[in-house]
Symmetry: C2
Subunit: 351 residues, 2 copies
DNA sequence: AACGTTGTATACAACGTTGTAAAGGGATCG
DNA sequence: CGATCCCTTTACAACGTTGTATACAACGTT
């Protein structure tokens, strides 16, 4: 049984307008009147009708987070951080999954469930700037990652080139001479993929190692099975890698499983590194060396950018939107290397 | 720039009512008029204002899924299945996390973002039937798991007792005589916990093995770190287990990591079994023996129950709700055992 | 008495969509 | 010619909330 302002007003013996004033914290309300209204609200368990409120105000207090797949642990962990960061603004987060499919991503970018969300945080895989321009509505959007160059939205990024370069350099610094990479894509559509590959290539050059196509394995998607398949293909190839940089942790965990099945020792025979620092990798056998982006910071920055676009408050006004607002910004979040057993082995003292 | 029915009407040279009739598939619209309107809709990229629509109709087309933690893989995978199942009804799923905290769960049960959702699928950890009765609104709710006895909501469950019994019997059938359990709780608040413990105890009795408190380790939460800590405590205890049944897969993965760190072999020294069949366990070293609930079926059943409560259609009518509707139902979904390396070892032929 | 402040109510309309009722025009059929 | 059907429009109000304007009363101060 949902109660309206009108029902509260009747119960408290005041006007609808007075109840609204109490609910909205309008200062000119006598304390005794306020108490009476609040009591009626509690008795009736009144909750504002947010559809009505949003129609009148133009705001719902809901933002959306659209990620490729929630069951890729990186996105699940990121979602948790976004939900926490959004809580500080008293926002509810609607989580959507695109599956990385271009048509779904276009749908999200052009307005999912229009008018039900105030803003969008979006981690796309396949979108282009053209997709963003065409048919986009005015809902403020923050993109995670460097997927869209020159688009109108704000971006939160990490330096994929530097991070990939650094972790590959770590492997080279351990004396590895045949460093493979898993996660490239044939069509090179994903910008993250290209940047991580560029960082890998730069580190090889830094170390005076040749870039060898035979050591670069593609992956259709970034799940464990894809990592296992790519590692298996590399092991069947003409050049035996002594290290492998995987473009995310789930690829790395799959590769580690494949290495185990081939009777290879980690890291003695093949050192492994990943990217993302998911909890999984911290408890794997061996624990996984990885790039650890500051997920909490990414979430915080994304929510802060969105809040700024939305004017940082819950109440009205036309959002500055994506067309004609301030120029789009790109902010970098931090990362660091987590060096673990999969590259440097087990501390001898622990045995 | 959001366009209204009025803008479409002007562009197509018809009335607002005619545009509404086209949008809603009213049959008495001339084909040429319909074409004209649809063209205007496409040109303006018109999208209905769902707040306005829901205010008028009383429906938003959004359901909520509330789970304890999205970054526990079981819930992330379940979310994916729920989103897929809901898509068949053209529903959008709003995902919320409660952290398993009683006050957050109460908040969810009494109506999160009122009027923004048509129904709720809820996987609570701490709620009681009293919590459900008090202050609950009329939004239809389906509960996942046997958390709430005698409450008014529909339930989708799996037979936790039988499943736990079966996987423990599997370990006993392998000749294991000191089978431990990880995941019990001191306060025994969670029903799943109690049922899995009951199944474990029943299987011990079936096998003529004594129930030994020293082999039952509690866990504060069900993350990998909790499993590792509990396994470490068991290994420091007076009775050395030769098998361990963990109440979920993340506990099991943490326990496996702890066993490895103590130089024990799996499954030779200690056989391990989990519950949930997350992807992680399929690629672990060794692969994890586990109870595999049919997550897609759970999702499908939950969505179907909710659809029934909502009258299976998008348009109007007062939902039958939780008060005064048909009696609450409990439906069981299937599960099976996945026997893998952590209990039976590696197939010899694979080496 | 006049003025300013506080507090409450009334009035109205806005937000975008849609359900109901009624009217009107055109075409067809008995 | 009247009845019926198809099609479109106009009119109105509903949904629940809230922003603006105005009116009025009470109280305190000058």
């Amino acid at each position: 049984m949902r109660h309206r302002l009108k029902d509260v007003a009747q119960r408290a013996g005041v006007s609808v307008k007075t109840v609204s004033n109490v609910v909205n914290g309008y200062q000119h309300v006598r304390a005794s009147t306020r108490a009476r209204v609040e009591e009626a609200i509690a008795e009736l368990n009144y909750r504002p009708n947010l559809s009505a409120r949003s129609l009148r105000r133009g705001r719902t207090g809901v933002i959306a987070l659209a990620v490729p797949e929630l069951d890729l642990p990186y996105f699940a962990e990121l979602t948790r951080h976004v939900v926490n960061a959004a809580g500080a603004h008293d926002w509810t987060v609607l989580v959507d999954q695109t599956g990385g499919a271009i048509d779904r991503e276009r749908e999200v970018a052009t307005g999912i469930r229009d008018h039900l969300i105030d803003g969008l945080i979006f981690s796309p895989l396949a979108l282009t700037a053209d997709d963003l321009g065409a048919g986009a509505d005015s809902t403020p959007m923050v993109l995670l990652g460097e997927r869209i160059e020159g688009g109108p939205a704000d971006h939160v990024v990490i330096d994929n080139v530097a991070a990939a370069r650094e972790v590959t350099a770590h492997l080279a610094g351990l004396g590895r001479r045949r460093i493979a990479a898993i996660g490239a894509q044939r069509t090179a559509e994903g910008v993250s993929t290209r940047l991580r590959l560029a960082g890998y290539a730069a580190a090889l050059a830094d170390a005076g190692l040749p870039y060898d196509d035979r050591l670069v394995a593609p992956a259709a998607a970034w799940h464990r099975a894809d990592g296992a398949a790519a590692m298996t293909a590399l092991l069947a190839g003409p050049v035996r890698p002594d290290a492998v940089f995987c473009f995310n942790d789930t690829l790395a965990l799959g590769a580690m499983r494949a290495l185990h099945e081939h009777g290879l020792r980690l890291p003695e025979d093949v050192a492994v590194a990943g990217f993302d620092d998911i909890e999984d990798g911290r408890f794997a056998v061996p624990t996984l060396t990885t790039v650890s982006p500051d997920k909490a910071e990414i979430a915080r920055l994304a929510v802060a950018l969105l809040a700024e676009r939305l004017g940082g408050r819950r109440s009205g006004g036309e959002p500055s939107g994506r067309e004609g607002g301030s120029p789009s910004r790109e902010i970098s979040a931090g990362y660091h290397l987590e060096i673990r057993e999969s590259s440097v082995g087990r501390p001898a003292a622990a045995r």
